[in-house]
Every structure is written in C-alpha cells, then in structure tokens.
Symmetry: C2
Subunit: 284 residues, 2 copies
C-alpha cells in the first residue's frame, strides 16, 4: 500500500480515483487539493479524503504518487507548479483525454527530479463534478498509459500497477498513437452527438418530445460540458480534424448511394456497421 | 375489452403488443399469424397467444382490430391480402416506421369496408425477433397515429385508445409530417451510428477493444438489422436525404471552425447541442 497519495483538482474522475483508492486499499492516506474553497470545505470529512490542502504545492509534499485530475489545459501548468515540491523520485500521472503535448511538456517540467507517466482512463460520464464520483468507475474500463521511450521503466510499472489496482485494463501506447486512437473512438463520436443535437435544435425543437431510446442513446454524450470539450478538441485538433474529414467521406458515400437508390451499396455500409458494433466487447 | 384481436407477422414489436394486450386485459382473445411455420409452432402455447392461424386471411376472420407488425415493405401487401376477409367496420393499424405511402395505399386497399389508421410506436431495440418482446415496451413511449383527413373519427379514436391502453403516449400527426419528424429524430441518428461504425471498421478494428461508454451508447442502434433499415430508408428516402444533407452542413460548419481555430464558434455549437440534449424528457 502507498503511504500517501495526492489528487489535484478532483472532478468526477478525481473523486472516483479517491473512492476507488479507499475501497481497494491502494493508499493509506489521501490528500486532496481543489481550486475552489467551497469544494475544499465540502471535501473535508469525506471518508475518502484524509486531508485537504490549500495549495497544490502543499498537497504534494510527502506523496510518492500524484494524480492530476484537472481539465486538460490545466495539467501542464499544475505539473510546473508542483515540480520543485515533489519528493525526489515521486511519480505524477493524470487522467487527461489528450496525451502528446501533456506527456512531452509534463516530462520536461519534472526533469530528473521526478517522473511523469501520462494516463487516460476511458471512463466518465456526461455528468461532471466530484459529487458524482464512484469507486467502480474504472472497473473493466481501458486505461491508456503513455510513457515516452526515455521514461524510467519502474515509474511506468508503478503507474500501470496503480490503474490496474483501481480495476482498469491498462494498455501501454505511444502518446501520439493514443491521440489518434481517441480522436476516432472518443472525440469523433462526441462531435457527431453534439452536432446532431445542435442540428436538431434548429429544426422544430418540440420534436425532441417524441424521441425514442435511439436518439437518447446516440446523443447521451452531447450533454457533456462544452468548455471541457473545447480544450480537448484544441489539444487534439489535427487528429480530430483527420477523423472528421475521413468520416465525412463515409457519410457522403452513404448519401450518394441513397441519391442513386443504390440499395446494395447502402446495405453493405449498414452491414459493415452492424458487424463492427457487434464486435464491441461488453463492459464487465 | 375487445372480444378478439389479430396480430400479423409478429417480431419484437408484434410480440410486445401481444404481451401488453394480455397483461393489460385489452382483448379477450389474441390470434396470431406468422409467415414461418416454425414461428407458428413456437407461438402455439405462449400465454399471450390464444390461436395461431395458417394464413393472414384466416387470422383476421372475426377480429375487430388487426395489428400489422411486419417490416414496412410487407405492410401494404398484407393489407391487400386481408382486405376482403375483414369483418365490416374492422380497424387495421400497424407499427411501421414510415407512414405516408403505407397510410395512403392501406386506406385505399380497404375502401369503405374497413378502416386503416396507421401508427408508429417509438419503441424498439437493436434486437429483433418475437422472443425479445416485453409487455412494457410501449410504456411511456411516443406512439404516432396518422389518420388522413377522411379517416372515420371513431376509427381514429379506437386506435388512439388501443395504443394508449398499451401504455404509449399517443400523438396525432399527418403522415407526411410524421415522415419528416422521424427522418430527423430516428432515421438520421441511425444513419450516423451506422456510418460511424462502418468508418471505424475500416480504421484499425482492434481499437474497438478500448471503447468507453460513449462510443458504446452512440452506436448501439448500429446493431440493428440492415435489411430492415434498407426498407425504411427506401420508403422515406426524400425526407432522410434532406435530413442528411442539412446535417452535413452542420458538421461542415463544425469542421471549418476547427480548421480556423474558431473556438468560440465551436463552443456555440457544443452549447446548442448540450442545451438540446438536456431538454430531452426522460423516458418514464
């Protein structure tokens, strides 16, 4: 068991880390810092929070592992802020949805003094805020871990063990490759769900009263926080643009087939989609 | 309570009608015809099936209400087949996802002898087959009812009462207007889910092992039967094409904003999407 772990800027994911760490006895002591004073007050006395710190620097003092759970655009600034306050050899990981820039700048900010090993658990919800955290959020979910070629293997091993202890299925992948993968399986679905809702909002909005389960499921993630997604899209702009543009070609092909009444081409696309969907492994 | 009701060609929806009719005491006797002999055999002895008929004509004899639950391209042929075998004044309804052509041709096929009042319950599943039917499938769901201006008001009232008795929230709408609405809130989401999966299948298919709940929910309906959707898209081609093309403009606007790094325009679209998604009423 780790003697002490720090979580910076907990929202849904950070609070879920804290709950899972407590439930699974991963660390003896959990120290948390949150930017907002009212959140710091509310965290005091939670059974999965042993101490609340007033600053990130104070929060990381004496912790061998630090989890940064902030929105992606705050991760590198927080790493720079805590760098000189970390114990020698401490390990910093995160939960950011984009990894190339964060891993590169985060590693550089810590130098030889401590280790940054980026992570991205594929878990979440359209709900945000620490109040919605659950100890089981990571159970059976993929967690990408993105070391660089010069990352200390022992640090990578520790971060893999940490996310595995929380129930996740860990996968090691290069940061740039990670960003390409999530552009396709996470960011593109978000763009489609959001633009579908944005489009329907400009038709007769009363139609939404008639919606069945199909529209509801297809658009669930469109309920996510726009500002959170702005920063993700900004950091993964090139990969997301590529995914959108290649997807547009697929949708155009479908449209052209429907214009031409080429139903065998339509069925081929629908069939390819059904085959792929059926191959998605169920979440345990 | 109706003395006798007939269900033709039950799949998921037709079997759910039968189960709901039994559970809610809507008819005394339920007669079913299915095209396949093995299904007819399997239906015999189900607690929600009092008699199995070998032909549609035999199945409708003596029934004041007939529910046609076949794929959309079989509905009009079935109406023509049973027309002269219906008791005078009998009412025929259906569950088809497209209504303009079916309502027009179905009404013409029955003439003055009986009444066709089209319906479309917004309930279903990516699963098909009568084995998956449930008595609660229609509970709290929208059911469109699409009479023509010359449909007998008493027949419309009976069909509204019938679907309401099964738990649905009924909404009267013109057939053409219905087809425009579902092109947007049902058929377009299907096209996006299917083409997203078809696209991802052509990238690295192993990526699907990493998928989180977002991709899973967004694409659930892509698991639907391609042949079933082929006929729906064929019958609602013009409206679906219009919805796809207007949606493409919305997606292009998003892409252009990302190319231009115009993040305030992106956030405006994401925000419009979030507002719409939050306005979707929960399903009871």
């Amino acid at each position: 068991m780790l003697p002490q772990l720090t979580i910076l800027a907990p929202g849904l994911l950070g609070a879920s880390v804290a709950r899972a760490v407590r439930a699974r006895h991963v660390a003896q002591r959990i120290v948390i810092w949150s930017r907002r004073a009212e959140t710091r007050l509310a965290l005091t006395g939670q059974p999965w929070c042993d101490a609340v710190a007033d600053t990130p620097e104070a929060a990381v003092t004496g912790s061998s592992l630090v989890v940064i759970a902030s929105p992606v655009d705050h991760i590198v600034p927080l790493i720079r802020q805590i760098a000189s306050h970390l114990p020698t050899g401490a390990i910093v990981t995160d939960v950011g949805s984009v990894k190339e820039e964060i891993t590169r700048l985060g590693t550089a900010a810590l130098g030889a003094h401590a280790h940054f090993v980026g992570a991205h658990p594929m878990a979440g919800s359209e709900k945000t805020g620490w109040e919605h955290g659950t100890a089981e959020l990571f159970q059976g979910r993929t967690c990408f871990v993105t070391p660089l070629t010069n990352t200390a293997p022992a640090a990578t091993a520790s971060v893999l063990k940490f996310w595995g202890d929380l129930g996740a299925n860990t996968t090691v992948v290069e940061p740039a490759r990670h960003d390409e993968i999530v552009a396709h399986i996470s960011h593109l679905p978000q763009v489609l769900a959001s633009t579908l809702c944005a489009f329907l909002a400009q038709r007769d909005p009363a139609w939404c009263d008639f919606a069945g389960g199909g529209l509801r499921d297809t658009t669930r993630i469109a309920g996510s926080d726009p500002q959170l997604w702005r920063t993700i899209l900004e950091q993964n702009r090139t990969e997301v643009l590529g995914a959108i543009q290649h997807y547009q070609a697929e949708l155009n092909r479908f449209e052209k087939a429907l214009v031409a009444e080429d139903y065998s081409a339509l069925v081929e696309q629908l069939q390819r989609g059904q085959d792929y969907r059926r191959a998605l492994r169920p979440i345990s």
